[in-house]
Assembly symmetry: C2
Homo-oligomer: 727 residues x 2
């Protein structure tokens, strides 16, 4: 596909079919190609007019009589296929279809779209769209794009792919306002043939592109998306994405608490983290962050030296740095000495540094302070607060000299220097001129969004994108589709595969229960044990704190009775030693239909049930991944000794949780969900107290919920995801 | 002061003393007055030069020989006072002091500043600054301001007050970029004489100002601030504030858990909420929100109808609306019918509405859809996504016609219409021209910040600013300064003043303890009871679950023993019935040195200790205020029946908590902190299980911590705050 796209995006000649003075799209496309200096030939095709946009028109593609590399299609919906037919006969391989009325309108439109795709596939054509505005190849001055492109069109290293037509123009305008140059901007339309991941893949290989910016309504091909993101990571090209909307988890395994925790949007977060995709939450951040990546790419750590001419701005920066997890370490003594020799007496030398309004008198002050701070051995990057001028001054030479000197200091700096403006106002024409003349670097727009961008770059720089799993050996299991393994069976299974589980003995009657309790020593716990039985405590199926044989006998009787009352007969009970103290966790694995097996960890009880305090990761996970996830929990303090709890052995705990994840992966596509709840940690001891394994209904897609055993809803959609293991 | 400020901000003539070609400040001030059309006379004063800035200079104020209303002072620090002396003799009453080197530099500078203030006070002068850039009275074309003011200076209803010099210019530039006009912008400097609250008060009375925007590093005079905010609320003028930085709570009552919960920043949140001040978190939001207030002032509720030409933008808006607590209700059937007659067939009629890119063909589409949606009876406001054009088109008349028609529809709309642009890029000169020509309303800059602004306006519109308390009768209490009333005494006190408290009996020995337990019935709780004793459980001073006389005897022995081991002798114990079930809350009142008594509510145990899950309100509170605070808690679900808990009687609970607040207020300035922890709620039953009252060390300010009784640190700063009750 990448080779085809190279042709699509770099045509030597373009025909606009359906060109007409009556269409704003036609006029814009034609104007764009002319105004932004497309070097090749442009042919206008309209069977009914001699002149379009003041140029002679051709009656058809065939009538052009010269080679055409790309056709930009603006004809009515039903005529699109005939244009492709005519083009294919002429050997034209590349098409941008602006025309709407296809798959986006419903089944009838979808059939038309399918016909177009089938024809294109059969004849080796490449079709972008339909229902898309086209693309802007700024690096190649090729702009078959149906909405106005205001001048100047800035060429640069940011490649933009959008699942939106209207927003493409906003992104374009905003990039221009930030003086961020684009390599290629593509408005995808319906992605009937060329998909977001195809264009991303092209951009990974495109030498003009160093950063990829995405506007996504949905990730349509998670596996391809994962593959191309990993390729981008290997190529050192950051992917920044604004992903909007939510689509509910199709895989709703109601027996696992985990199901409710795994909102689709949080799985996207987990997937993006795994793939090194930087998620942003506004169009402004999309471009401001991408622009910063284009400038500095990587930052070695979170320690920021801050140089400003303003105390107020310094405090805003300090507040924002804390939110972004950035550090403002104290300057080294030598730095302090050197700064004190530079700044006015009434300035306070500290990080963040306010060199004061004396910059009005000494315009070199900020640049000289920057030079000193950049030398500080304790920082990973410098934030220089420096607005570009908005209006042309009477004498621009002073401005150019000062900006040039600062630019030179930034180039020579030991660490990356990020220039941030106070507020997010446009870089004006004069500002662009200053940057162009002096090599003054990218200016992140405003403290608010600039700090987000720095945080994004720092986090991306520290993130290691791992390759997909491949080494876990499959573990064949004889499970009936849709089956639920409740505690006694699930726990035995886990214990048999290396997961520490609390000991348990099954008891058929009161005497067996008392005997088991005697072996464990009191107090003990007694639970119902029946095939396919889910939330036992809801059925009155759990008895705690049994301190003697009488307790055990009574409990056995009550539990069996409670089950009978719910129509469950022939049940046994399970006796376990009662554990005291420690912290309970929930460890759940569910299969996301798009992204595959997903691990959720949380603190048990109210923590997950009321607070939804959980952290998600795609499987597989390393113990380090797990540790990171645990550290995200709001109740993390309970694991490190808050309130006098015994500090958990986080290393041991993380290893156990990672091994639960590995076991789930080894179970292959038959596994729907695996939940350990609670997993008890008490200092160095880690032990599963209860578990539940839910098997999928098989590889056939089921629509709607289906009543499983024991009165529980079990619905599983089986889709291979990126983390689905070595299938 | 307001009368003085009217003179200060509206001079008929201005003298620049210390004017010199060598100073950028001097040049800027002079240029500003000339370029922005100051109508009065400007005199340049410099004893050593004949010509300054190309104009003849005067040797001194006296040498001017004509009336001067305002002196802009740029002389060296030590010469400032002599300028005031000369001016005072000439009867000049108003001064802006740009000169730095005063209080901001240390004690020596502070002495100079005090001299200036003393002289000014004595002679009835008004001094803005020192160490400030001056002000910009855009409404009056009066701009004695020391940094460049780029043209055009836009006059409008937003008054800006900044505790920052450098940021004033950024705010000014950003307001211009948003086409937001200012009435007055003041850079406060050291506030030696004229304070932020003085200028705010002026703006409340200023007919040119309808919104007040603040940049605050600290609230220096909380009581005055509260008063002027209440005045602004009564005048219907919103106050929007960017408050940065944090300063630790000076009142650190370590015996109350509450102390740790009340970060200064959260008290500011509580105070702003009480006073109706809209807190924003970026410079962009400061101006964008203020600009929206200037346009729509009030919105009747949170239900938004959204009209856009873009599906992608609609989804971003939907995501952001959820975050801002705004609702996008389904359109009424009639609205749907009318919209279906307007939008293209392939559009989906829903809220948010995407009328589709067909706006390129039919430029009236968006406006017509807006008209329909504004009629929907189920919405409180319309969000219209509509960018202003950035570049002048070949034929501006079409643009003007379309914008004019939309503007007219907005004027006629039943509900407020908020126009939002896709991204935060400048409103260009042509955009301003369109707004000026057509009356096209304010455009909130970008979906991200625009949604914040709408959320702010909706919240402000719903907020009721209450008047300060005045009706609670003081309750004289004989407390020794610094004293701590532990449970038995605090609880008795609370019970004696209408707060429901768990019954308790004091026991001097084992026999008394057993007798008390017998009266209550088992199980019981036994606790240490000693004067000034704080966290009992830390000392092993609490025994729970005592099920019989032997338990009680042993517990009494152990508790007394544990206290002896800590050197506490002569202690008694306290016997109480043991409560089971329910939810424990913490209700704490602490005295903030700035804002007075502050109430914190939280769920007990891990909720406050690990999560810091609490909500703050300034006292007094109504039961409704308390209910709002409880609803903010992350664990709020535990009060409404999550996890099978008994739903709390929230009305009863809120009444009890409000009455705890009232009691604290009645105790007057001697109270340092009052904590009920836990307050147990179990369905309709609400009962304090434990309490602690800490009395202040008196009205003298104490520096640093001081060792209180029983080994606890008790530090209290006594300052009258706005919520300090009817003293």
């Amino acid at each position: 596909m990448t080779r085809s796209l190279r042709e699509l995006f770099r045509p030597a000649s373009i025909a606009l079919v359906g060109a007409t003075d009556k269409s704003g799209w036609s006029l814009s496309t034609f104007d764009n190609l002319r105004n932004h200096l497309f070097a090749g030939k442009v042919y206008l095709v309209n069977p009914r007019t001699e002149v379009v946009h003041g140029e002679p028109a051709h009656r058809s593609l065939s009538a052009i009589g010269e080679p055409v590399d790309l056709v930009y299609v603006m004809v009515p919906t039903t005529a699109v296929l005939s244009v492709l037919r005519e083009g294919a006969e002429l050997g034209i391989r590349n098409y941008v279809v602006l025309t709407a009325g296809f798959g986006e309108t419903g089944p009838a439109g979808k059939r038309l779209e399918d016909e177009v795709v089938a024809f294109a596939t059969e004849h080796g054509l490449t079709v972008l769209g339909p229902n898309g505005n086209g693309y802007i190849n700024a690096a190649g001055s090729t702009t078959p794009y149906g909405l106005p492109i205001p001048a100047p069109l800035l060429s640069g290293p940011v490649g933009v792919v959008l699942q939106s037509g209207a927003l493409a123009s906003s992104v374009l305008a905003f990039a221009q306002a930030r003086n961020v140059g684009l390599s290629l901007l593509t408005s995808m339309g319906n992605e009937a043939m060329v998909s977001v991941t195809d264009v991303m893949s092209y951009l990974v290989d495109d030498p003009d592109t160093s950063v990829i910016a995405l506007f996504l309504e949905s990730v349509r091909h998670p596996e391809e998306f994962a593959r191309v993101c990993r390729r981008a990571a290997r190529a050192g090209k950051p992917v920044v994405a604004l992903k909007i909307g939510t689509s509910a988890l199709a895989s709703n395994t109601a027996q696992a608490h985990t199901g409710a925790l795994v909102g689709d949007d949080r799985v996207i977060d987990a997937a993006f983290r795994r793939l090194g995709v930087v998620r942003v939450h506004s169009l402004e951040d999309l471009i401001i962050t991408a622009g910063l990546f284009a400038e500095v790419r990587r930052v070695g750590g979170p320690r920021l030296g801050v140089v400003t001419p303003s105390g107020g701005a310094s405090e805003i920066i300090a507040d924002r740095a804390e939110q972004e997890g950035l550090e403002l370490p104290a300057f080294a003594p030598e730095t302090v000495d050197r700064l004190e020799a530079i700044v006015p007496d009434f300035a306070t030398v500290q990080n963040p540094l306010d060199v004061t309004g004396y910059v009005v008198v000494d315009r070199t002050l900020l640049g000289r302070a920057l030079e000193v701070v950049a030398d500080d051995p304790g920082i990973d990057a410098v934030l220089l607060l420096n607005d570009l001028p908005r209006v042309t001054p009477a004498d621009p030479s002073v401005t150019l000299t000062v900006a040039g000197a600062t630019a030179e200091r930034i180039r020579r700096a030991r660490v990356p220097v990020v220039v941030v403006s106070n507020v997010l106002a446009d870089i004006t024409e004069f500002g662009r001129y200053v940057q162009g003349q002096t090599g003054f670097p990218y200016v992140a727009g405003g403290i608010e969004h600039g700090m987000t961008a720095i945080g994004n770059v720092v986090r991306w720089s520290a993130n290691v994108v791992t390759e997909p799993p491949g080494s876990l050996s499959p573990l064949p299991v004889a499970a009936v589709p849709g089956e639920v393994w409740a505690e006694h069976r699930a726990a035995r299974f886990l214990a048999g595969h290396g997961i520490p589980v609390v000991p348990a003995e099954q008891a058929a009657d009161e005497a067996e229960a008392v005997a088991a309790a005697g072996r464990f020593g009191y107090p003990v716990v007694l639970k119902a044990a029946a095939e396919g039985l889910g939330h036992k405590s809801d059925l009155g199926g759990v008895r705690l704190d049994l301190t003697g044989p009488d307790d055990v006998r009574a409990a056995h009787r009550e539990v069996i009775g409670a089950l009978s009352a719910h129509g469950i007969t022939g049940a046994a009970t399970l006796v376990q030693p009662q554990r005291r103290g420690g912290v309970e966790l929930l460890v759940g694995v569910v299969r996301d239909p798009a992204w595959g097996l997903t691990l959720a960890v949380g603190l048990g009880g109210v923590w997950v049930e009321v607070l939804r305090d959980s952290a998600l990761r795609l499987l597989p996970v390393t113990p380090d991944d797990v540790r990171g996830a645990l550290a995200e929990l709001r109740g993390h303090g309970l694991l490190t000794g808050a309130r006098g709890t015994r500090p958990a052995d986080l290393r041991r705990l993380s290893e156990v949780i990672a091994s639960i994840g590995d076991l789930a992966l080894r179970l292959g596509p038959g596994l729907a969900a695996l939940e350990v709840n609670p997993l008890l940690v008490n200092g160095p001891e880690v032990e599963a107290l209860d578990a539940l394994i839910t098997w999928s209904w098989g590889h056939h897609r089921r629509r709607g919920p289906s009543k499983g055993r024991g009165g529980w809803w079990v619905v599983v959609e089986e889709t291979r995801g990126m983390g689905a293991g070595p299938e």
